[in-house]
């Protein structure tokens, strides 16, 4: 059936399929990236799932709710919300080489 279709019959309504990084590697938007000091991080120190403010408040869903929390720097836009929301100031924004 597909083969007998004319070129214009294959293009119908404009549709989207889901992808990671629809806007590209958004980590390139900022050179400053959050670095977690694991000596201060509450769930790391306690060994128990707790706090996770960095995960909760991240608008980009680039932080994992794991011990320790991990940040996907390929897509992190470097907004710094996690740094502000960390109750023990365990996160600092630092210049990170994008490579």
């Amino acid at each position: 059936m597909t083969d007998s279709k004319k070129d214009y019959q294959k293009i119908l309504g404009s549709v989207q399929k889901p992808v990671i990084g629809e806007a590209g590697k958004t980590g390139t938007w900022s050179s400053k990236k959050p670095i977690i000091d694991l000596n201060k991080c509450i769930p790391v120190k306690s060994g128990k799932p707790s706090c996770f403010n960095c995960w909760l408040y991240c608008p980009e869903a680039v932080v994992t709710r794991t011990i320790p929390p991990e940040i996907d720097l390929v897509y992190c836009k470097g907004c710094g919300i996690c740094m502000e929301e960390c109750p023990v100031k365990a996160i600092k924004m630092e210049e990170v080489n994008p490579e």
Partner: protein, 299 residues
């Protein structure tokens, strides 16, 4: 109140969207989808959320989205729901309409009012960043008094519309305010409405770093100030019964509220505000809380 561990770990938005760094709306949408789950269809008009959802060929969410013209959010949700009812799928799938303040309080108010009057079984969420941000920060009906936008260079001369009250007048079963800076409260509220039939309306404060003039890292700080100063009380009206939400309860006592100037002075958009306008803000907040108190006492 829910705990951070009560939220599903699963994300419904893939990383790498077109939303600005520090976007309040992105967090609101992320948390709302966690509460509603995968069996959700979103309809979204021209807005920052259309931008987040992505352009030609590719989208950034794990749930389906219908992009609809600016004025039609409420109508498109009605259409999706009618079709789901036609197919017997309406009990399985949640219809979520998500629009900005311009799309809700201005161009979309008629379609929303119609959908609410018809008792359409859907959730309508207005993320209020208090101006037309996606088109370059023009004033909307939801822009507060004194705010500088590209179409109010001297500051807006009139106050913002009270959209939740307009929806209350429709007699719908659920109305809530929320705030990007209180994701647990937001989650709990979206979770609650999943099982309420009829039209559910959310009005959610969505701090916007470029539009409001503050550093992206401060989105939650600004959002919290809106609550702490009493400017943006968090509440629910469930079947007509008014309830103050936990994060706002302590501000019933006026002495607990921070001065409004703390909120106003933290954002460039308020920089042309004078003392008279600040006084109007103080007066308005006083009146808002007086009304809240009386509504609580009447129940």
């Amino acid at each position: 109140m829910v705990n951070v561990m009560d939220l599903p770990e699963e994300e419904f938005i893939y990383p790498g969207t077109r939303a600005c760094a520090g976007c309040g709306m992105a967090l609101i949408y992320r948390i709302a989808l966690k509460a509603l789950g995968a069996k959700t269809i979103t309809t979204v008009p021209a807005s920052c959320l259309t931008v987040l959802h992505g352009m030609q060929g590719f989208c950034s969410t794990k749930i389906s989205v219908y992009h609809t013209p600016f004025a039609t959010t409420g109508a498109s949700a009605s259409g999706i729901l009618a079709s789901l009812e036609d197919k017997g799928l309406a009990d399985e799938i949640t219809v979520l309409a998500f629009a900005g303040d311009g799309g809700t309080t201005d161009i979309g108010i008629q379609a929303l009012s119609g959908a609410a009057e018809r008792g359409t079984n859907f959730i309508y969420a207005c993320y209020d960043n208090e101006a037309y941000m996606n088109t370059g920060v023009q004033r909307s009906g939801s822009t507060p008094l004194g705010v500088r936008t590209t179409t109010t260079p001297e500051g807006k001369k009139v106050r913002k519309k009270n959209m939740p009250k307009i929806l209350e007048a429709h007699g719908i079963p659920y109305i809530a305010t929320a705030n990007a800076a209180y994701p647990l409260d937001l989650f709990e509220k979206f979770k609650r409405v999943k099982n309420i039939k009829g039209t559910k309306y959310f009005h959610i404060l969505s701090p916007c770093p470029p539009g409001w003039g503050y550093e992206p890292k401060n989105t939650m700080i600004i959002g919290r100030l809106a609550n702490e100063t009493g400017f943006w009380p968090l509440y629910e009206v469930i079947n007509g019964k008014f309830e103050l939400s936990k994060p706002s309860k302590r501000y019933l006592e006026s002495s607990k509220r921070k001065p409004i100037i703390d909120y106003l002075s933290a954002q460039k958009r308020f920089k042309s505000i004078d003392d008279t306008t600040t006084k109007i803000y103080e007066e308005n907040i006083k009146n808002v809380w007086k009304e809240i108190k009386s509504r609580l006492e009447n129940h």
